[in-house]
Structures are given as structure tokens and as C-alpha cells.
Point group: C3
Chain length 265, copies 3
């Protein structure tokens, strides 16, 4: 690897970036706690009167359309524009894109009106956005994206941003360089919100890493390594989720670096 996961971890923990989320009400608490355990400071606010000011002091923003509505979509766009003015990273999690027309329309609207830095989705979502395959059932991936490296590379080129795809193996590309991360555990699929938590951790790392692609890869590796540690002590999805926060919080940077199974494709 040409970058250090341990260094990125230390940078996040040292600077404690403020990550402003406009996100769904299902997994929002997990996003807040994942942000804290990764080393950041989370804030969630979605009122038109509040989001521009909050994006004005944040270090990055995360837009997640899991439980979208017209009021919060307008706030996402307003916050995104403010983030663009300031040059801070904007992470988009296009939850359930392709499952309904409204989700597809909103994801497209955000991508047109806001300069998104990183799109993070599951296999089905990225496959649909890339046009390489993919199926979404509600908000779960229900089908492959075709060749996964091709999916992230194609979409990254088209959008001109970093694209990250979570799954049994994670992938990320900026259209030029493409990485895979082979860490994690099958229990991550049995907890609602591990995908959303990934976007939160990416938000922490994007805030402090000049290279957004390797920052994204580091974030995915860190959460997945924490997932492996948590899985070893878990009796099921409930205790896995508890252990995931414990492991993320306590993770030693060098241990993460050594355990990360990252490849350049």
C-alpha cells in the first residue's frame, strides 16, 4: 500500500472532526456513536434554518436518503452547497436508490445540484447508479453490480468523484486508482445500519485526509477490522453491534494497519 491506515486513524483521533449528518431516523444513533468511536464529533440537524450554519462549521457532511422527504432533501441540497463553498467533503449515501422512483430522482437531484466528493453505497445501489447491474429490495442490496471493480470505476469516472461500494468485499475508486478491502464479517449484514455507519466513518476520514480515495479505503478497512474483532466475541447481531462500537473505539492503529487486507486492483 502507498498510504498508512494507522496514520489516518491517528489524524482523525487527533483532530476530532465535526461531521454534520442529514440522515435517516432509523440508524441515526448508530451513526452518531460510530462517529464518536471513530474519533469524530457527530452533529445531526436537518432544519432549513440550521443546516447552512452547521455546514459552515463542520469538517465534512454526510447526506443519507434513507428516510428522505421534501423538507430534508431541500436541507441536504442547501447544506451541500454550503459545504461546496467551503471546500469540505460531501459524502452521499444513496440509500435504496433504484427501489422507488422517488429515491432515484432524489439521488440524481443531489448529484446534479451538489458537488459530491464521495458516493458510498451497497452493491445493488452502486450497480444501479453505474448502470452495470444491481438490484435493490427496499434498502438492501438484492443483486450484484456486475464486475465490482468495473462498477466503482465506471461510476467514479462518470461522476468525477470517489465511489465506494460495501459488500462481502469492499471496493473504492476515483476512476483512476481502484482498491479492494477484504475484511469484515457476515454479521455486518445482520445489523441495520452498518452501511450508514460506514458513511459516517468515511466522513471522519475524508475530513482529515487530503487524498479522499485512500481516506475512504482507510475508513472502510478500519470499520471492517473492528467488525472482525467484534464478530469474534459476538453471540449474534445484538452483541455484534455492541462489540463493533467497543472495537472501533479501542482499535490500535498498528493492529488495524496489520489486519487490513487492502489491495490495489
Amino acid at each position: 500500500m502507498t498510504f498508512s491506515i494507522a496514520d489516518a486513524m491517528r489524524r482523525v483521533r487527533a483532530s476530532r472532526p465535526l461531521v454534520h449528518h442529514i440522515t435517516n431516523y432509523v440508524t441515526v444513533n448508530d451513526c452518531a456513536n460510530a462517529t464518536i468511536c471513530a474519533g469524530g464529533s457527530p452533529v445531526m440537524t436537518d432544519a432549513a434554518e440550521d443546516v447552512v450554519d452547521m455546514a459552515g462549521i463542520a469538517s465534512s457532511i454526510v447526506l443519507n436518503i434513507g428516510t428522505l422527504n421534501e423538507r430534508t432533501v431541500a436541507s441536504m441540497i442547501a447544506a451541500g452547497k454550503r459545504a461546496n463553498e467551503r471546500g469540505i467533503p460531501v459524502i452521499l449515501d444513496p440509500v435504496g436508490v433504484g427501489a422507488t422512483g422517488y429515491r432515484t430522482e432524489v439521488a440524481g437531484r443531489i448529484l446534479r445540484e451538489v458537488r459530491v466528493s464521495i458516493v458510498k453505497g451497497n452493491t445493488g445501489e452502486i450497480g444501479i447508479l453505474a448502470g452495470t447491474g444491481g438490484e435493490v429490495k427496499g434498502v438492501d442490496s438484492a443483486g450484484g453490480s456486475g464486475d465490482p471493480a468495473e462498477a466503482v470505476r465506471t461510476l467514479a469516472r462518470r461522476l468525477g468523484c470517489v465511489v465506494a461500494m460495501t459488500g462481502e468485499t469492499d471496493y473504492a475508486s476515483d476512476g483512476d486508482r481502484t482498491f479492494s478491502v477484504r475484511n469484515g464479517d457476515v454479521l455486518m449484514e445482520a445489523v441495520s445500519g452498518t452501511g450508514c455507519m460506514t458513511a459516517s466513518v468515511v466522513g471522519c476520514y475524508a475530513a482529515v485526509c487530503d487524498d479522499l480515495l485512500t481516506g475512504t479505503v482507510a475508513a472502510m478497512a478500519v470499520l471492517s477490522v473492528a467488525g472482525e474483532i467484534a464478530a469474534a466475541g459476538a453471540k449474534g447481531p445484538g452483541s455484534f453491534r455492541v462489540g463493533l462500537l467497543d472495537a472501533l473505539h479501542g482499535l490500535d492503529p498498528q493492529v488495524a494497519e496489520n489486519a487490513a487486507n487492502v489491495s490495489v486492483l
Copy 2:
């Protein structure tokens, strides 16, 4: 018993039904995770622009008025009508009915405008709807429903649907047949949202069981047996909730069948 809980469990896990919730923001995460651990795929969305499409691909829908407002109540009715067109089950959880005039009015409005398949409430809520007694304090049951079997039977006959009532003993009736389920643990009362989780699990089972009454009974038995297992390893409500998800996810169908204490009344 004239039906197999183990078979119902296996059917849910094999078909992974998409359960669309329009629900409260207090316990929504527990509902999502309970749905996953029961074997379903949860999706939560409440925007007018989204709910009809989502109800159009769901296998069942759960309407929960815990934190109702005019926007989401309109979405509940729109989603319910779409579910009725498609013939998929609609589960109503009339949280806090009787505690305020608005809750009572909204529960009545949904029951008039949507053909509800299953009403699931606590003792106070069902007693109030049945007119057999019952008191509700906020969203908690604060008083009996009179004779419980009579309460569910009466309400089921009046509404022409299945009625399920949770409590120390659970009851369910379609107006003709009536069952009791004597499982569970007192710790279920010490966690916010076990009632909401029951509706989610009922949503999974209703999606795959032709007989909605025995599907409902199976769902209540499965969650209550998981509750017994979780209680055995819990130090209090916090660890009980964690263990409940673990136990629900790992529950062996034959163990559930053997442990279920279901009676025909």
C-alpha cells in the same frame, strides 16, 4: 396445536419478506433489527412521494402511530390503500390509543380508510378499542382489558380482522378461534419497543403465512421464546435487549416449537 411454529419460522427465513414500516422514531431501530433477526428485510419510509411505490413492492406493511403527525398519517393511509389493492397484509399498532383524543381519532381514521389485517396492541389499547375496559398512560398499558380472550374476540368480530394483545400472557383471535401464548419474561416490559418489535415480527410472519391468525400466534410465540432465552443471560433491560436480538436471530425452529406454550381457548 393445529399449526407448526417451526414451519412458519423456516418459511420466513427462506423468503426474507420485505416489511415496509411507517412507524415512530423512538423504537424504529429496534423494529428494523427485529425484522432482520426474525428473517425479514425491513424498510422504513414515510414520504408521500415514496410510500405508495414502496408498498407496491413490500410483502406486508406495519403502521405504528407512536409518534404520529398529519404528514405521516396521510402516508400511512396512502400506503395502506396500496397494500389493500395488492392484497398484502396490513398490521396496525395503535400506540397510545385512548391516551389522547388525537390518537383515538387517528386509529379510527386508519381503521375506516384502510382494510387492516391485524391489529396488535397492549392490554390497555386493545381493551379501549374493544370497549371491554383498559387504560393507557402515555403509551403504556395502565389497566386491564376485562376478560382478555373476550377483548380480542370482541374486537376481532367488530373489525373483521385478527386482533393480537400483548401482555404477561399474549392473546390473539380472528373472532372465531382464539389462542393464548404463555411465554416471555417480565424484562420485556422494561424495554421500550418490545411491543413495536412484536408488530414487526408479526409483519414478517403475516407476509408468508396464509392463515394470518396462526401466523400472528407463531410470531408472538417466537419473540416471547427468544425473550425467555435472553432473560436467562441478562443483567437488566440493557443486556436483555441485546440478548433478545441475538436469541431471535439464532433461534432453532424446533426449540421454538417445543418451548412455545400456546393454547386454544
Copy 3:
């Protein structure tokens, strides 16, 4: 001490006060479970059509501006006025005041239009409201309040209510008497929502204690002692949160009384 924490605990558990919350969607589930584990009965509702009736049967109300918007702020004021008519305690948690203009404006609006009984904030928030110092980063305290006893005393005198400030040491004052509570654990800062949970527990105690100041001190001591017990068995923030609910629920009144490190300043 001139009051008994053990007696206050027993009173809460015996009367099971209904605590109506209008609060944020990030930590609302923790607030509900903390209320139950402290001995109260939580209800969360924010619709204009519902809040006045609910405040009409509640024993106290908690207003938390963590994820405020115009609709819910209007409901907070309507519920607050109803609570004032009935003479039940109103607890305000001015989350993130000072971080954005909107939060500062809304906190001021609530304090003008509602007779607030207890303001509970973190060090930064209380320092800002008191004008003695303080900095807020998103919703986290990012800087001291100057002399903490002076901050709570000053603000309590100006507002004519009880003011509570959480931090490594907690402080509370009614402008005349001032207390400190030296309990808790550093892990409380690593979980989103422990401040919100404090407001919920204060809501339980305020509902049953004639002296709101010592009721507030008792509530802060009880949660912090539970935090010490939880920390002893925790591996990180995830298991700490689980253990906090277990410990709060199982806490023996005499143990709490003995462990509480409360001083009159």
C-alpha cells in the same frame, strides 16, 4: 447532605411518573429506556394535535432542541404552556445553543414563552447561556464555562429557575444553593446521548420531588453512580451504554446514597 437520594429514588419508582418528551431523533431511544430504567414511564410525541393533551396528563415534560425544526419548536412551546398551566415541571435541554444562530434563537424563544423549571446543559452550553464563557462545537462542549459554580448560579439567578451543568463534575444551582456531584466516568462522554438521558432522569425526579434543586442533584447523582458501575464492567462505549441501563435499573437506593459524592458549595 440535607436530602436523601435513596428516598427520592424510592419515590420515583413508586409513582412511575409519566415524562413527556419532545426531543431529538438521535438519542430518543436512549431517553425512553433511561426513563424506564430510572422508574418512570416515557412518552414521546411532537404533533401539534397531540402535545397539549399529552402534557395535560404528564407528570413533567422534557424539551430538547437537538434536532429542532419549526414544527416541533411550536409544539414545544404549546406543550410548555400547558405544563405551566398545570404546574408540572418543564426541563429544557438547550442542545447546541451557541453553535448556530437558530439554536440560540430557539433556546431564547422557549425561555421567553415558557416558564422553564430546570435548564440542563453541558459545560459549553451553560457557559454560553450564562455569559461566563463556554464554547460549543456542533452539540459537544468545546470549552469551559469559566468558574462552573459561578456559571450555574449566575444563570439560575437570571432565569429564576434551577440550572444543571453536566461535565467531569456536575453542578446545579437555584441561584441560592449550589451543589456539585463528583461521580460518573469518562466513558459517559464517549456515548451519544448521556446528556439527553440526564435530562430524562431529571424529568423523572422533578416530577416527584417538591424541591426541584435537590431532585435534580439526586437525578444527576443516580445516573452518574450507575455510570461508575457500568464502566467497571465495560469494554468500550458500546458495552458501557448497555451496562448503564442495566445499572440504572438495578441500582439499590442505599448503594446510590452511599456512593453519591455530593457537596454543597
